[in-house]
């Protein structure tokens, strides 16, 4: 079977399991950049982030037979990446800390996060990254997955293994805290 853009991840997984391990390369192609960006954000751009990305793909391959093709492969591999990054952070006794030199992220946040007024106007991206870094840990990752990785509540719920309502609450709360933080610190 030819793999093209219309072939779903789940179909590739099925074919990789049955016929051809080489097809796993297509999944690497599809997810490498996304996972690298996600893990780098979680691991504060550490040089070890690349090893974590590699490990995420290795874990995915080793456990490919455990993947339920009724679910989304993207959520599954993000969950693997999340687990690896969280364990790495625990080992390093570090917190999630976004890098405010990341131009792409700055622009993305500025576009995506609507805090309902114009306080985001100018240096929005940078200010927002600083404010995100001041958020309580439990709010950071749901917020990042929503606004930086474009994940739905359902996918975030699967990746973080949290009830969907809790995800909604955390993201809503994070937005309120960000707004309050930005108003307090930056609005003149």
């Amino acid at each position: 079977m030819n793999i093209n853009n219309n072939t779903t991840d789940e179909e590739i997984v099925e074919l990789t399991r049955k016929n051809d391990k080489e097809l796993f390369a297509h999944l690497i192609d599809r997810y490498e950049a996304k996972l690298a960006a996600y893990i780098k954000r979680l691991a504060a751009n550490s040089p070890e982030a690349e090893d974590l990305v590699q490990q995420a793909f290795i874990n995915a391959f080793v456990n490919l037979n455990n993947f339920d093709t009724d679910q989304k492969f993207s959520s599954w591999i993000y969950r693997i990446a999340h687990n690896l990054a969280v364990n790495w952070l625990k080992k390093k006794k570090a917190n999630i800390s976004l890098d405010d030199d990341d131009e792409a992220m700055r622009l993305r946040l500025k576009d995506k996060v609507d805090l309902e007024d114009d306080l985001m106007a100018k240096e929005a991206g940078t200010l927002l990254i600083d404010a995100i870094n001041r958020l309580p840990e439990k709010f950071k990752e749901p917020f990042m997955l929503k606004y930086l990785e474009d994940k739905s509540y359902e996918e975030i719920s699967f990746i973080l293994r949290l009830p969907k309502n809790t995800v909604g609450t955390f993201i809503g709360r994070a937005k309120k805290l960000l707004k309050a933080d930005l108003e307090k610190n930056y609005v003149r």
């Binding site: 391990k21 796993f24 690497i28 690298a36 391959f61 719920s157």
Partner: protein
């Protein structure tokens, strides 16, 4: 990083440096998890039911609410400890299932307790405990915890009232000396 990472991983895949775990491994793991959960739940129902039977046969509620100190003093703490341990174990097992994350811990834990208590009360209302006690009194095989619990500790008041015999007389049940 792109090609380097991909070729590194694919080389390991080709050389069997990393191998896919067999599907059967996950099937067996899933079945063990389900069996463990099923067995644990049955045990939990039995323990809850044994607790109700203990309270009834030892007349703990007959003391009345004013005698709470006596009630606390007479509770079967080893059984309570077993129930709590089993609940923790079951909670650990449930959390390994994929569905578990979508419900809050409190909901899962209280559902587990309520469901077990419901089935235990049905068991308690049936003739199960009398039959179990009779069978254990007659049996020469000792069932860990249950033999001692049913034959010696349930209905201690009745036994105390009895002038002789090793077993306990409860609701006209055969005792060990009567049944032999």
């Amino acid at each position: 990083m792109s090609d380097k990472l991909k070729s590194k991983i694919m080389e390991q895949v080709r050389n069997n440096g990393i191998k896919m775990k067999s599907r059967w491994l996950f099937v067996v793991r899933g079945l063990s998890l389900k069996s463990g959960l099923g067995l644990g739940f049955v045990l939990l129902v039995l323990f809850f039911n044994a607790f109700f039977f203990y309270v009834q046969t030892n007349g703990l509620l007959a003391h009345g609410a004013g005698a709470w100190w006596q009630i606390i003093h007479s509770l079967p703490y080893d059984l309570i400890f077993l129930i709590l341990t089993l609940l923790l174990f079951l909670n650990y097992l449930v959390r390994r299932f994929d569905f578990s994350y979508s419900h809050p811990f409190f909901i899962i834990f209280s559902s587990l307790i309520l469901l077990a208590a419901f089935w235990a009360s049905i068991l308690f209302a049936s003739n199960f405990n009398q039959t179990m006690k009779g069978a254990l009194l007659r049996s020469k095989v000792s069932v860990p915890f249950f033999s001692d619990f049913y034959t010696r500790r349930c209905g201690m008041m009745d036994e105390g009232a009895r002038p002789q015999g090793n077993g306990c007389m409860m609701n006209g049940l055969p005792t060990d000396d009567q049944s032999q």
